[in-house]
Structures are given as structure tokens and as C-alpha cells.
Symmetry: C2
Subunit: 235 residues, 2 copies
């Protein structure tokens, strides 16, 4: 690319990265608020999360438009092309993360005043904290294009999966102990699964950062410790 | 565009549409096999579904590459651009559908020989049949770019949501009746949710067909009859 084309491309790329940063911060707030709404049974906060989802969707469409326009105008190749394709992929994962946070908020509205088995809520909270720190770190790695930090996030997802497995087992036990727990625990199961899936999308983002920088997929198999849909369970 | 550019663009577009057709047929098989594996507790079939997922992912990457190359080479505008962006969006939804079918297959491996409350399995089967017919119709509408047929699919998703709500309630009842049902029913809950979410991705595809042809989003609010995460539940 010529000098001035390079500058124009860099400006396009910065605009894309800025929008991804905005989307990521919105997702952070959505996860935080959804889990707080779950903990405190705060229906008003849950409704806020549900309404804010349109902003996440709008940002994704803006990123898609901007990415497509940049490909058409600048015809980038190699790492420049991977930057744009990477932005498209990351915005998809961020949109899914927003969607999963919204799903948690929707469940809050169903729980009414059923009493939660409190240790489970604490564990869910712990899981959400890890996921939030993972999200911050992956967004940071994207901003600085730091592959090592991204791979660290990628590996740490095992902790989230392990916590989900532990919550899953605990919830099954509560259900078996007392049928009155079943409705609450069922919703809590889905909430825990949603947080675990947010973790998966964060690892996708880490993989995309690797792909942008290295031009090839992460070669190690993704670490997996979620045993609830791929391993053994108490029966 | 000039005549020969038009022909070249049409060839690119046909190649993309062909790959989307391949991906859709693969998804059909994945859903069919996953649900059959669930019904018959066929672990070998479930493992096939899990292994075939790499093919779905590979097709998505091919479509992404082809779409990006076409945007850079042909710099399409208006409906031509929407065709390519539409192919990208549809391949994302088809990838998610494959993933959800794979999740069902993974749960089959966990169920062991726990006896399934058979009416639930029949209802799940019915739900999967509707979803399969929806998928066929939406792929057909895409091939023919028929907006009316796509909107029909879009509206019919309510049936899938209503069936999921009914299965969800029934499963909760089984769990409350007998704690021995809890493990099986929990997995069945997730399977039903996965089928319902496959339905959502099919409606996304219908919306994309509308967007390609009309250049604007579907204006009616999406019909929703899934009450398990947005309405009332037996407590």
C-alpha cells in the first residue's frame, strides 16, 4: 500500500477497534448488571439489561458495515485483511456475549421470590467475576495485539468450565433434596450455562487475536473442563 | 458493473450459494442424527455427529474467505453487496445450528441407560421435525430468493417456541414427581432448549433473506411464544 492509503487504512482500522472497545465495555456492563440482578432479584435492573441489548446489536451492525466498506475500498491483504476479518469475528462473539447476558436477565424476571440456595448464587457470582476479568483481559490484549496475554485468557477458561461443572452438580443435588428447589435450580442451571458460554466466546476472541497476529489457527486443542455436557455426572 | 464483471460476480455468488447449500444439508443431517441418537440412545451415532462438526466449521471458514475475497475483488454495492454480507450472516447462523446439534449429541453420551419419560422424547422428536422442515424451507427460500416463503418460516417459529415451553413444563413436573428423573430431565431440558435455539437461528436466516431482497430489516416484531425465559412458569 502507498503511504496515504496506509494512513487511510489505519484510520479505518482505529475506528473499527474503537467500536469493538465500546461493544466490549457494553458487554462488561451487561454481564455485571445481569448477575447483580440475579443476586439481588432486582427486576428493574434486569429490565435495563434486556433493553440495552439493542445497543449491542446496533454496534455489531456498525462494525459489519465498516468492515465491509473497508474491505471494498482498501482491498487489504495478509495481516491487514486478517485485521478486518478479525474485527468481524470478534464483533460476532461480542454480540453473542450480550445475548447471553440478556438471557440471564430474562430469567431473573421469572424467579419471583423463590428462595435461592445461597451457596450456589455465591458460586455463580465467583464464576461471573472470573468471566468479567477474562473479558477485560481479552479486550486489553486485542487493543495491544498481545498474543501472549490472549493465550493466557484462552487457557484460563478451564477454571470457568470447572466452576460450571461444580455448580451443575450442586444444583442437581438441591433438586433431588427438595422438589421445591426445582424451578429455581432449573433457571440457575441455565444461568450458569450462559456464563460458561460467555467464557467460550471470550476464548474465541483470544483465538481471533492469535489468528490476526500469526495468520494461522491456535494449534493446541482448546482446554475443556466442562464435564456437564462432555463427561460424567452424578446420576 | 460491466457485463464481464457481472458474469464473474455471478459466478462468485453461485459458488457462495452452493457452499451455503452444502452447509445447510450438513446441518440437516446433524440435527436428524443428533435427535435420532437421543431417541435411540445410540452412542455411536452421537459420536458421528460430534466428529462431523469440523466439516461445518470448515465450510463456514471457506464461505468467509470467499465472501471477503469477493468484496475485495468486485467491490459490490446495493443488492450485490447485501448478497455477500447475507452469505456471511447465513453461514454464521448455520455454524451455530451445527454447534447446537453437536451439543445434543454430547448429552446423549451422558444419559447412559437412565429411562426416559417417553412422552417427552416424542415431543422433542415432534419439535425436531418442525425445525427440520423449517430449515429445509428456509434453505429453499434462500436458493430461490423467495421472501414470502422466508417470512412464512419466520412466523412459524412460534410453534417451535410453544412446544419448547410445553416440554419445559412437563419436564419440571417429572422432576418434581420423582428425584430419579432429575438427571435425565435436566439433560432433556438443555436438548429442548438447543432445538428451540436452532429454530431462532433459522428465523435469523429468514430475516437475512428479507434483508438481501428488501435492503431493510424485517419490520414486524419477531413472534415469540417461548415462555420459559420470558413469561410465566409453574412454580
Amino acid at each position: 500500500m502507498e503511504e496515504h492509503t496506509n494512513r487511510a487504512f489505519d484510520a479505518d482500522l482505529s475506528a473499527l477497534a474503537r467500536k469493538i472497545g465500546d461493544m466490549g465495555r457494553l458487554d462488561e456492563k451487561q454481564i455485571k448488571d445481569a448477575v447483580e440482578a440475579l443476586e439481588k432479584r432486582d427486576a428493574a435492573l434486569a429490565r435495563n439489561v434486556i433493553q440495552a441489548e439493542v445497543q449491542v446489536d446496533a454496534l455489531q451492525r456498525e462494525i459489519e458495515e465498516k468492515a465491509v466498506a473497508t474491505i471494498a475500498r482498501r482491498q487489504p491483504v495478509a495481516v491487514d485483511l486478517r485485521e478486518i476479518v478479525g474485527a468481524l469475528r470478534i464483533s460476532n462473539d461480542l454480540e453473542r456475549i450480550g445475548d447471553l447476558a440478556q438471557n440471564i436477565a430474562k430469567r431473573v424476571l421469572l424467579l419471583g421470590d423463590a428462595f435461592p440456595p445461597s451457596p450456589v448464587v455465591l458460586q455463580l457470582d465467583r464464576m461471573a467475576e472470573i468471566v468479567l476479568s477474562q473479558l477485560r483481559q481479552v479486550l486489553d490484549s486485542y487493543e495491544r495485539r498481545e498474543v501472549a496475554a490472549a493465550l493466557e485468557v484462552w487457557r484460563k477458561d478451564q477454571e470457568v468450565d470447572a466452576l460450571h461443572t461444580s455448580i451443575f452438580r450442586e444444583l442437581l443435588t438441591y433438586m433431588m433434596e427438595n422438589p421445591r428447589n426445582i424451578t429455581f435450580c432449573t433457571h440457575a442451571l441455565f444461568c450458569s450455562k450462559n456464563v460458561e458460554r460467555i467464557g467460550d466466546h471470550i476464548t474465541n476472541i483470544a483465538e481471533t487475536i492469535y489468528y490476526i497476529k500469526e495468520g494461522k489457527p491456535v494449534s493446541e486443542a482448546r482446554p475443556k473442563a466442562d464435564m456437564t455436557s462432555s463427561g460424567s455426572l452424578p446420576s
